[in-house]
Symmetry: C2
């Protein structure tokens, strides 16, 4: 298990290795994503980021997210309303459970979908590129708050 600061360092280093420049904006965004237990929306990153680095622009947030996604450091999460949130990439057959209220994320071990995927490819002739297995609900905190 790595500490957040060493992960931040690794991400920055990886950006550097791939020929991207290390800027204050990117460091701010990386730190937020590395340390968050939420799946963050671009606006959230923008708002939180400006507390540390007031000159941060929303466009830069989008462009940095694009870079980090290319490098496989983050994953894009699709929300029911069609918006996106972003999260540290995970490894293995982890799937997502998201709080529709606050964006809090839990991982859970789901079934390995590769057998299912193979079976479906064989029976349908499709070339499968991607899969989603996500659960949505209210986290304990939001559940109790919604009962006011």
């Amino acid at each position: 298990m790595k500490t957040d600061s060493s992960t931040t360092y690794e991400w920055i280093k990886q950006l550097q290795t791939c020929g991207y420049r290390v800027t204050a904006a990117r460091q701010t965004i990386v730190e937020l994503l590395v340390s968050s237990t939420h799946a963050l929306s671009p606006i959230e990153i923008y708002d939180l980021g400006r507390k540390e680095y007031p000159a941060l622009g929303l466009v830069t947030v989008y462009r940095t997210l694009e870079r980090l996604d290319e490098l496989g450091l983050i994953q894009r999460v699709h929300m029911p309303d069609g918006c996106h949130r972003y999260l540290r990439a995970t490894q293995g057959h982890q799937h997502l459970l998201l709080c529709t209220c606050c964006g809090q994320v839990e991982m859970f071990e789901g079934d390995d979908l590769s057998k299912l995927t193979q079976r479906v490819e064989d029976t349908t002739g499709y070339h499968i590129q991607d899969h989603w297995l996500q659960l949505f609900g209210l986290c304990p905190r939001c559940t109790s708050q919604s009962r006011q």
Copy 2:
């Protein structure tokens, strides 16, 4: 197995029963959804619909889709780009396989997720509201076309 025309009739009847009015616009949209093997986007419904009923407006498409969704006659499909497509509702534990190129839809029998959902609720304390299990890929036709 019902024919498309009888399904169309049933949908219209159900709209009527629920106090909604039967209009040319709604009949056009219902016919398209009942007979399509694709998951249709609002724009597609708008374009196809105007061939039969040129006065059709895009806003009416959105509002009719809302009604049909309320009645449980169609289901909303979330595409990777954040857009939505709509499809006749299915029953049972069917899941979706979508062609990312043409929108063609296949159903497949997936695992019943209720056990998984229950397990995750117990271990996380979340109150689970919804789940997505969708596969994305290229259908045989689009696969061969993309190899030009």
